[in-house]
């Protein structure tokens, strides 16, 4: 068997894996309450790899990395501030990572995963409930969770800005 044949077989096996989304389309949205009003923002995702077969959760994995320097909240100077050392410090920490550790099913098309979330130099385990839906050739994932931004050394205590940030991660792709 030639090397070319081996590579082709591996490639086809990869393509044939119905659970594997490579570079899935993925978005990260967040909201945080500032002085009683919700501020909405987005982060661009650098890459998202999802290997998720509901029949084989033991071998499932989800890995998403987002670019904190892409943050947008609708106010340019605020976005610049969020990139600086007291918030995301993007020169030193150019990536936010979400790496799955385990999953279990909680209902029809509903799952819960344990993930390591790394922001700046802090990694903490978080639990994310999410849904998985198929529509035609497309598969859609959607999960949301909350973090305390101070746990990750993002900003400081504030009279106006809440510590709780609600994050929604959506991914979709074609199999």
């Amino acid at each position: 068997m030639s090397m070319f044949t081996i590579i082709m077989i591996l490639f086809l096996l990869e393509r044939a894996d119905p659970s594997h989304l490579v570079n899935a389309r993925c978005t990260v949205n967040f909201t945080v309450v500032n002085a009683g009003l919700e501020v909405e923002g987005t982060l661009k995702v650098k890459n998202a790899n999802i290997r998720f077969d509901p029949e084989n959760l033991q071998h499932a994995s989800i890995q998403v990395s987002a670019d904190p320097s892409s943050i947008e909240t609708g106010i340019g100077i605020r976005d610049k501030h969020l990139k600086r050392s007291d918030y995301f410090d993007t020169n030193i920490y150019p990536e936010i990572r979400l790496q799955s550790k385990s999953f279990h099913e909680t209902g029809k098309n509903r799952f819960e995963g344990k993930f390591d979330l790394t922001i700046k130099s802090t990694t903490r385990e978080i639990t994310i409930p999410f849904s998985r839906k198929k529509k035609g050739k497309m598969t859609f994932y959607e999960g949301d969770f909350e973090i305390n931004r101070l746990d990750f050394n993002v900003g400081e205590q504030s009279l106006t800005l809440d510590e709780t940030v609600r994050i929604k991660v959506s991914a979709s792709g074609e199999f």
Binding site: N34, A35, L37, I77, S85, L159
Partner: protein, 503 residues
Amino acid sequence: MKKLLLLFVGILIIIPAISFLGTFNGIPKTWDVEAIKKFHLPPPDTSVKVTYASEEYYNALPDHVIYKTFPMYIREFEKPGYIDSLRNLVPEIMFDVSTLKTPADWIKAGELVFNWPVAYSPVGGNLSQLKKSDFENSNGKITSDGIYPFSRYVLTEKSELIVGSLSCASCHTRVTDNGEIIPGAQGNIFNTIRFANAVRTQRIPFPVLQAGARNLNYAPWAPDIKVAPDSPEEFARAIESVPGGSVDRQGGGYLYPFAVPSLIGIKEIKYLDRTGLMKHESPGDMMRYAAFNQGMDMLTSYDGFIPGGKNKNSELPLPSEWNHPFGYSAKKYTDAQLYALTQYIYSLKPPKNPNQFPDALIDQGRKAFTKAGCVSCHTPPLYTNNKLTPVNGFEPPKDHFEKYDIFNVSVETDSVSALYTRRGTGYYKIPSLRGVWFQSAFFHNASLTTLEEVLDPKRLRKDFVPTGFMPPHLKSMAVKGHPFGMELSEKEKKALIAFMKTL
């Protein structure tokens, strides 16, 4: 052993008693160089070696003796014989620390200090030198009863009447459109026309003014920045271009006036000066601020350059030789005088707000205040988060995050005052919005005069003509930075302005 124990207990009792007696009146020491080093921020070029005048030097300066002073009227309001009647009075010392027993006594005494002028010139003739016509087309103000609060008459020796100016009140007194006085508010009274005329006609020799301007404005770390005018006419126009609510002051840079802050509510404000030059954590800090700004800052050495120094700014003058370019007398306030001043300043209250808006409009404005992001920096209840923002071109050194309160993003306004002047620190202070309804100078260089202008995106364009300060050689200029609120709808802006005018 028993005797030794008694002696030890005695010492334990006596030491606190002595300490208490030493500070029984709670008056901090103004010129405490170690305290000054902590409260004074360094220049933006942190390699510059800053040396403050020594305690020995400060203590050798003679004290101000505060006499009774008298209002200066314009001629049309002056009662016949007023000036001669003052000359006939017996000079009366008004500030006497031994009479101050209650907090109210200290506040009242502080008002005397607030109004005590530090630059003097003799009064000739028997009529006011000020006329109503001096105030036509001028940004100077007089009260409804014809008083010009920038200056006051002083009698320190019988029959020798002098006119005094440059008290705290000279810059921190506002006269409203109705001619009422708001002590401590953003000042708007200085009549620039008379000074500009004196410059234009060279009644003050131009070389003297030029040298003075250099001493007032030169910062050794910015040798290429223009610090003095080239001609009397240029200088006269520069003086005339400084609008009410702002002041061209020592260390501030030529053609870079500063908007005057309101002192009302200053007790809760953590940094003083637009550039956050000095920390304010106690009355002692406020006393130090006053001492610096009434002349001592001209005696600080920056890499060997002493603005008020002799021998080409290289040596401290003897106290008797000191000659401030603004004409200050070479005197210092006593610690008691400065402490009284702080008590008066801290006691200032805002005037009754005449603005009335529907509750729904104010509520809408409050929401716009949050939506536009104003609230993050102008955080209630003080409507400032009491922090410093670094300017474009300055990256805060790591140790500053430990020492100072930094909101670590530039709002991208003009950075010259913060970088290239002696008052520069690399930062601007986030000002409180309390009392904006009785202010008329906005942004640190007072380029804008209304909140509508602040929210107008047209001000970012080169062809914009600001209603506030603009260097006289320009026909238009962009007032950059701080774009918050510009994206709001017109309706939201109106509501936002209404809300801010209630603060």
